[in-house]
Symmetry: C2
Subunit: 384 residues, 2 copies
């Protein structure tokens, strides 16, 4: 076969593949509809296992290996589960209108911008973007009604928790209504013609600088220029049109500003992932069919063993913790507030009881929100 003919055949295969992926997604949503009111969990890992084993056997007959089939279907299954969860939640809490206004850090091309696209694509036909210059401005946009939702980064595998956001959560009346994780792949980006050896100025958000600290130590004679967001860094580099001035950010973001990659994989940890939370004025309920997380803050006081006692309450009710983080209370520099994420639905009897007991033994407890967990652990099967 000639190269052009083969490429033609690949194009038509791809077109059919996309049609099937679209059809399969519709069928997954039809399953969510059919299960409605049955109160059965959206996800059935035993069923997924059987599915994978059957697909692997079919793949083998067609000459494709188990590893390939598994990798493709982990993506397909994750998508199905998240689509179904979004649908069930929409039915329970009221669907969004055709468009949603979302506040996030930076403009087009920032990491928060991509995370916003990822999260809301499943939930609204159109996203009205409200790019902001600071976390404070983002929270205010929702508090004052300028936006319906805000997206905030809360932690990162390389740089840890983003304290500024934790501190804002102490004082806001907003509720956490969702979460997502998003891979963060930092690149050095410059205007066409820029060269790594001639770089004199690096523009980036302070969190990004922290995540790439080890790489940056290796660059000599370079000035760090802190920007409000990765997209602000892109704008600056584009406007300056100076090949010695470069930005750190995502490759696809930089492309929006005509920037080219000079180096990749800058983060201290090879797999750099950020977790974001979604906040809104009104809390949501999480359907029983969906795994839920609840986030609350508590102030235990400083008597010895105070934290252990609080954690024992969770243990006694069989509630497992996803995260525990302490933060100073503003104005009381030696006292600590605890942030706790648990795998539990606020409407569960165990969680209600645990919160009552925590109320009795601590000085202060405040629930920040209960929301669907978007950690879709891939189902493993032994393919042998």
């Amino acid at each position: 076969m000639e190269l052009d003919d083969i490429r033609q055949a690949i194009s038509s295969t791809d077109q059919q593949l996309l049609q099937l992926l679209a059809k399969r997604r519709e069928l997954a949503l039809a399953v969510a509809d059919a299960k409605l009111g049955q109160n059965k969990p959206i996800r059935d890992q035993k069923r997924e296992q059987e599915l994978l084993l059957s697909l692997i056997a079919q793949g083998k007959a067609l000459g494709i290996d188990a590893q390939y089939v598994t990798r493709i279907y982990h993506v397909i299954i994750e998508d199905s589960v998240l689509q179904q969860q979004a649908k069930v939640q929409g039915q329970l809490n009221g669907e969004n209108g055709p468009s949603v206004r979302v506040a996030f850090l930076g403009g087009q091309g920032s990491y928060s911008y991509w995370a916003t696209q990822k999260y809301f694509t499943r939930r609204a036909e159109r996203i009205i973007e409200l790019g902001c210059d600071s976390f404070n401005e983002i929270v205010q946009a929702v508090e004052t009604g300028h936006a319906e939702y805000a997206l905030l980064p809360i932690e990162n595998t390389s740089s840890g928790s983003i304290n500024e956001v934790f501190d804002l959560l102490q004082h806001t009346r907003l509720s956490i209504v969702g979460e997502l994780t998003h891979p963060i792949a930092h690149c050095l980006l410059g205007i066409p013609g820029a060269e790594l050896s001639k770089v004199r100025q690096v523009c980036a958000h302070p969190q990004v600088i922290a995540q790439c600290s080890q790489y940056l130590l290796g660059l000599s004679n370079v000035k760090i220029d802190y920007c409000d967001s990765s997209s602000a860094a892109f704008v600056k580099v584009k406007e300056r049109q100076d090949p010695t001035v470069i930005a750190i950010g995502g490759e696809e973001g930089g492309q929006l500003y005509g920037l080219e990659v000079l180096a990749r994989d800058l983060a201290n940890q090879k797999d750099n992932v950020s977790r974001f939370i979604v906040v809104a004025r009104k809390p949501v309920s999480v359907a029983k069919a969906i795994p839920a997380k609840t986030t609350f803050i508590m102030y235990t006081g400083q008597q010895p063993g105070a934290l252990v006692e609080a954690l024992l309450v969770l243990k006694q009710h069989g509630i497992s913790m996803a995260k525990l983080e302490s933060r100073p209370i503003p104005g009381n520099p030696w006292e600590e507030m605890f942030y706790v994420d648990v795998f539990a639905n606020l409407a569960d009897y165990a969680m209600t009881r645990a919160l009552e007991e925590l109320n009795n033994i601590t000085k202060f407890v405040k629930v920040l929100g209960c929301y669907p967990s978007e950690d879709i652990e891939p189902t493993q099967v032994s393919a042998s």
Copy 2:
């Protein structure tokens, strides 16, 4: 639609999807055939970008989002590239017979077992498995002709380099002919009925223990039992049939021994990946159409600046380094040997010249092998 009907429709969609994936893989191999002799790179990232943009536009028309299309096609493109590379290499160096004998650490279900499956599935119809108890035994199996290939783990994102393997490479006559990376997801696995709170003994390979050190600090009153491999740990737990004795290893590996997961994500770093090398008695050539890596060891002597001078040679020839690692020379405890991975083909003029110069300025240089790089960096596009 009734749930059963929807499920039927999903099954038939899946069957068609697999057929298309198999067809697309065949077409990718046909491309490699058609390009043969043209000496053009297998991978054309500009073409991939155009492909992704066109697929994203088609997807949008079908109601599926850019992120989903991109994730699916990153898997498909990586598979195509690796299939094509394996085919081109087979044509250049002689195809394997219908079966290959491969030596690796542990038995069915060890991490090396899965990596062996992943690597050789593209390269032979049947893998004859030669499970070994130590790295030394693995290398000997190939040296003596009991196996044609061996697979050795060389580094891990959580625990770093595996020194024992580096030291074996100093003395072997085998050549590195390939590499691969494989995600390592450590779980606690016990017999049905085992409970996390009652665990008294943890069986695992010492490297695995090192990779999970932070998690293990949190378990009190637990005895660590070092095993030769993860599969050896599974065998022990299965044979003991004691719910207080558990193993650390991969979930799909544990399933082969009837073990169930008690906890996941044990590694110190969330995304835990191991890099493996493949060794054989005869070196291979790497086709010009494929990105190559070359690994060599050198002993520079101890005069000041010796290493810098050696690295300057690489820089002057425009050769970039993927890895540099120092290891003591056995018997000479205060002298260091350097292991160097570079992104270069041994047959390149620049690499030949660089090695000649290194020969002149160092006391000793030995090439361990030149092999196709399997790091397939996904092509990014701006979907907006």
